[in-house]
């Protein structure tokens, strides 16, 4: 969130900054390949450790667990590329689904209720977009506010009640498979939307504008990029997709409660950042984000199959995220020092980090073992 500060600092440290940016961008060109490598590693390790991993039925069932996160990640990539953030996505999803559930409980036709849910979610996006794009308030604060506000509305709609008994035509969207294949509908929907979003980001003027805003918002404004209009649009889009994710979740659960999806916004942002997006904007790709979602999904599923406790699973994903941020830092350090002097320094630094992580793990398992032994 220090984008403005670093811009102010730029003139003084112009050369160093330039070097760093050059190496960062080259790393990010390679980061997707790192993700591919990690995915292959995860698949190999898991296939060797569990006979249940490479099983079409199992992969099919588990893949739909990650699709709401995936859907919300798509507009989040747009938003992060501009250097902004949307913390309200999961709350928006709960709000939209709860509104649909409320209407369903009142006897409204499910499709009308679903449309109303989508509309409300989009309106939520309009609110975010207006405050961030037009009023020019900081995105973090605005969406932190709507994060609480939308979830509050969700409880307002359903309270401690649940909406249930959705018709099978509706639950198909969360539980059904495409045309007798094993591909869940939600996965197909995500794939189509991911390609669409990827094309928009990488092949259109709109997409170039997003990078321009993320790299230097003032420069974008002076270059005639309609910055506030674009920000408004991506938040509206985020609202709409969050509502859509809410409906998919409701269909998958066959029910809605106002706390559905609590905390998912962090998973969404984690997936996006692990995909190589710079949280300060201007860098990253849609396919990197999609790969990172795949990586997290396979990793978590594999760890689940080995009955690794969910706290440890979170730890592993967290560590992976830290490493993904540390790597570009190392590269920039390495590339800013002359070649003949770097080797021992970088090796020492990496060994130190590895040792620290190893120590954490060792401590964790030692303490777990102590707890288990005492029971």
């Amino acid at each position: 969130m220090k984008a403005e500060n670093s811009q102010e600092l730029k003139p003084e440290t112009l050369i160093a900054e330039k070097a760093e940016h050059y190496s960062l961008s080259t790393l990010f060109k390679h980061w997707e390949w790192m993700l591919v490598g990690l995915i292959i590693a995860v698949v190999l390790v898991n296939t060797n450790l569990s006979p249940y991993f490479l099983n079409a039925n199992n992969l099919s069932r588990t893949s739909s667990d990650f699709m709401e996160i995936g859907l919300m990640m798509l507009p989040m990539v747009f938003i992060i590329v501009t250097g902004n953030i949307d913390l309200s996505v999961a709350s928006n999803m709960g709000m939209s689904a709860s509104f649909m559930g409320l209407l369903h409980n009142m006897g409204v036709n499910i499709w009308v209720a679903a449309l109303a849910g989508l509309l409300l979610g989009t309106l939520g996006g309009v609110l975010n977009g207006y405050l961030v794009g037009r009023v020019k308030l900081p995105a973090l604060v605005v969406t932190l506010g709507t994060y609480a506000f939308f979830r509050g509305l969700a409880y307002g709609f359903l309270g401690d009640q649940a909406a249930r008994n959705y018709p099978p035509e509706f639950t198909y969207f969360g539980q059904g498979k495409v045309f007798g294949t094993l591909v869940p509908f939600s996965v197909a929907l995500f794939a189509v939307l991911a390609i669409l979003f990827g094309l928009v980001l990488h092949k259109t003027t709109f997409g170039r504008y997003l990078y321009a805003i993320g790299n230097n918002e003032n420069a974008a404004i002076y270059s005639g990029v309609p910055v506030s209009k674009i920000k408004f649009r991506i938040y509206v889009l985020s609202g709409f997709i969050s509502a859509l994710a809410g409906l998919i979740l409701a269909a998958r659960f066959g029910s809605t409660r106002p706390d559905n999806g609590t905390g998912l916004e962090l998973s969404v942002i984690t997936a996006a950042v692990l995909g190589g997006l710079d949280i300060n904007g201007g860098k990253g790709t849609m396919y990197g984000a999609a790969l990172s979602l795949l990586l997290i999904g396979l990793l978590k599923f594999g760890m689940g199959l080995m009955n690794i406790q969910s706290q440890v699973q979170s730890m592993v994903v967290g560590l992976l995220l830290i490493i993904s941020i540390l790597l570009p830092h190392f590269v920039s350090q390495i590339s800013s020092i002359r070649k003949d002097r770097i080797r021992w320094k970088s090796i020492l630094a990496i060994v130190a980090v590895v040792l620290v992580f190893a120590a954490f793990f060792a401590f964790f398992f030692w303490s777990r073992a102590a707890v288990i032994a005492s029971v």
């Binding site: 990690l38 069932r61 659960f253 199959l305 560590l319 790597l327 793990f361």
Partner: protein
């Protein structure tokens, strides 16, 4: 530059591989420190795939002493039956996470699942998928709706639980009665909400006319939040007589809040708690009495129940009878609200006279 990337990639893969192998070797008994070792072991595991080996007890979340106690009972039953029962739950009491976990357990083709549901409705499709895969599903503590499980192991009848808490609150408030409040778990917790409904019905009885329920607040089964909500209640209602907290986390946090605020003798805490957590507050007078079944027995009975289903001893139909070791025989009953279930027994009141007889 190229070399650096190669180096970094290898380093990252190493860390990552280390993390994975460390996890797997700690979590499963099989030492899988290296891939080569793991590959050798893949063969026997594949043979085991056809016949299941593990039963799983799935709590609402890990690190909750209530469920840890249920696990202790479950392990006792596992020892008697000669089976392995794993204890696997989500990190937080969240349906989304619990469903992801259950999907990975279904994928492993486990022998049976005993689940405490984070969301009675959202888990129905997952429970159905498990049963379609031939895995018996019983629920304990918090039920999945009837379509999503074979039957429920019911800790106590909601009527008894709700009634006993109002009865205790009335005893603690004394002849004059006064204001009471409820500090519950999450606002969507199906158990707590049912009990609170019963409490509200009980309060309409003449004998409880002197009790006034001023507010229901939610501590989300989080110690800090429950503590803060309790403090907020003291400030908001200076005349508050009794706080009922129908959740083990909430009741201990509330009793601690009463103790810390120096309100012992003025505000009484009761509800559902466990002896080890509440011993201090029973003795210092913050919570002279509270009720609960024995979650250890609940875990014990759940294991016998899923074992009976998995071995084909019972099919899970009304009237089926199975034996559950030290607890005796149980018969599956049908209930219009709860569906098929077996009932553990009556809730039990803990007080200064008996608390030292228990250690869990």
């Amino acid at each position: 530059m190229k070399r650096n990337y190669l180096f970094l990639t290898v380093a990252a893969l190493l860390v990552f591989g280390m993390a994975l192998s460390a996890c797997s070797s700690a979590a499963t008994e099989a030492p899988a420190a290296e891939e080569s070792a793991a590959m050798e072991e893949a063969a026997p595991m594949e043979e085991a795939a056809s016949t299941c080996s593990d039963y799983v007890l799935v709590p609402k979340n890990l690190g909750n002493p209530y469920f840890d106690t249920a696990d202790t009972g479950a392990q006792e039953a596992a020892g008697e039956l000669g089976i392995t029962v794993l204890y696997q739950g989500p990190a937080t009491a969240d349906a989304t996470e619990q469903i992801t976990l259950l999907n990975s357990l279904i994928a492993q083709n486990v022998c049976g699942l005993a689940i405490s549901a984070d969301d009675s409705d959202a888990l129905v499709p997952t429970g159905k998928a498990a049963m379609e895969a031939g895995i018996p599903v019983v629920t304990f503590d918090s039920a999945i709706a009837p379509d999503g499980r074979n039957f429920h192991v019911n800790q106590a009848v909601a009527q008894d639980i709700g009634a006993i808490q109002i009865q205790m609150a009335s005893e603690l408030a004394g002849e004059a009665g006064g204001q009471i409040a409820v500090l519950s778990a999450t606002s969507t917790a199906p158990n707590q909400n049912t009990w609170i409904e019963v409490m509200k019905e009980e309060l309409t009885k003449d004998e409880y006319a002197n009790l006034e329920l001023v507010e229901v607040v939610y501590g989300d089964d989080d110690d800090t939040k429950s503590y803060n909500e309790a403090q907020a209640l003291f400030t908001k209602y200076p005349d508050l007589k009794v706080i009922i907290s129908p959740t083990t986390v909430g009741v201990a946090a509330t009793a601690r809040a009463v103790t810390d605020a120096g309100l012992i003798g003025q505000v009484f805490v009761t509800g559902l708690g466990t002896p080890n957590q509440m011993r201090e507050y029973v003795k210092n007078g913050a919570s002279p009495e509270f009720a609960l079944w024995n979650p250890g027995d609940l875990g014990y009975l759940s294991v016998y129940a899923m074992h009976a289903l998995a071995t084909g001893e019972i099919t899970g139909a009304v009237g089926d009878t199975f034996s559950a070791g030290k607890l005796g025989d149980y018969t599956i009953e049908d209930d219009p609200d709860l569906g098929l279930n077996v009932l553990l027994g009556l809730p039990f009141i803990y007080n200064a006279d008996n608390i030292d007889d228990f250690d869990w």
